[in-house]
């Protein structure tokens, strides 16, 4: 025993009372507890049928956002790839051609955008790094699969579908700046 501060207290009591020495009372108490639990509602959610609601800020599968007019936001600046600790993002940039203004918002766009979902650790740093409101993590989970190659998600899987917009407004941070 070495006392360094005045805020400590010995909490352990190893002396057993006679009742505790008898084994049976404590066992009976334990059995009562477990028996009562038999009639409690199970805490289980039957997962594939009933899905648990995730927090709005949950970091799941990524999405590449489009703006209101359906143009891709990404400008292939590469900050997400730099910020990725797992180095799971690969981007190839391309110049926007004339007549593609309705497809891409900025002058440059990502011709190839791949995330290796098996490498990804869902840390959310890419979302933070994005200066163009383009990449977000969503509350959808990435499903498991049978081959390693099927986890390389290209733009076909990542870019948000126009008929299935993903609401990310709840993820946006609120800053109370006085």
């Amino acid at each position: 025993m070495i006392q360094l501060t005045s805020r400590s207290k010995v909490v352990v009591d190893k002396k057993m009372s006679f009742k505790e020495k008898l084994y049976l009372p404590a066992i009976a108490k334990g059995m009562a507890i477990t028996f009562m639990h038999m009639f409690k509602k199970a805490a289980t959610l039957r997962y594939p049928e009933i899905k648990r609601e995730f927090a709005p800020v949950y970091r799941g599968m990524h999405v590449l956002k489009r703006d209101e007019e359906g143009r891709e936001n990404c400008t292939a600046c590469g900050l997400c790839a730099v910020a990725c600790p797992a180095e799971a993002i690969i981007i190839d940039g391309a110049e926007r051609q004339k007549g593609e203004e309705h497809l891409y918002r900025e002058e440059k766009y990502a011709a190839k955008y791949e995330i290796n979902m098996l490498r990804c650790i869902f840390c959310g740093l890419c979302e933070e790094a994005c200066p163009k409101d383009a990449i977000y993590l969503t509350d959808r989970i990435v499903e498991s699969s049978y081959t390693r190659n099927s986890f390389i998600f290209g733009k076909d899987l990542l870019v948000e579908k126009m008929d299935d917009r993903i609401d990310i407004s709840k993820r946006k941070k609120e800053y109370h700046i006085d």
Partner: protein
């Protein structure tokens, strides 16, 4: 039970000699509902696997709560967590000790691909030493994702022919890992 949809058989169990007969189907169904896991939990994903075993997710619903720590008795090897190069041979040893039919699920980024640990000491995916049937992404995966992985594996198991384990393809697959 009833509303499980029939899916296309996964790519790695198609091919000649793999079409399941009705006996195969019954046995496949039995096997799928009695997958005893051997948790090879090394790190973070192991904790999430514990959560999957816990009350809120309850892996028992799939008949998989009887954890068998002895490889002889296990059906599915759940590799959860980083496998370093030092651990690789141990993992292979455990796989070899398992009785056929055996399946492997790689849980989490580290086991599946190495994750953020692209270093001199970490194996870049356990499929470098043993064949893997299902990959579960995430670091660590949510219990939902682990259950997903089990369900996906059940699909494989249900549709697997009894002869697959004797087939040349399977032997070739094992052969590519140096397992006779």
């Amino acid at each position: 039970m009833s509303d499980i949809k029939i899916v296309q058989s996964p790519p790695n169990i198609e091919g000649p000699g793999f079409q399941a007969t009705s006996l195969d189907k019954i046995i496949g169904l039995a096997r799928a509902n009695s997958l005893w896991p051997l948790p090879f939990a090394t790190s973070c994903c192991g904790i999430e696997f514990m959560a999957t075993m816990g009350s809120n997710y309850d892996l028992a619903r799939f008949g998989s709560e009887r954890i068998s720590f002895s490889p002889r008795q296990a059906d599915v090897l759940l590799v959860a967590g980083t496998i370093s190069k030092k651990m690789g041979p141990v993992l292979k040893q455990v796989y070899l000790q398992m009785a056929e039919p055996r399946w492997v699920i790689a849980i989490g980024a580290c086991a599946s691909s190495g994750g953020i640990f692209d270093t001199y000491s970490v194996l870049q995916g356990i499929d470098k030493v043993i064949p893997v049937d299902v990959y579960v992404p995430g670091c660590p995966p949510r219990p939902e994702q682990i259950i997903d992985g089990i369900v996906k594996l059940q699909e494989i198991v249900k549709n697997e022919s009894l002869r697959r384990r004797e087939s040349d393809e399977y032997k070739a697959l094992l052969g590519s890992y140096g397992i006779q």
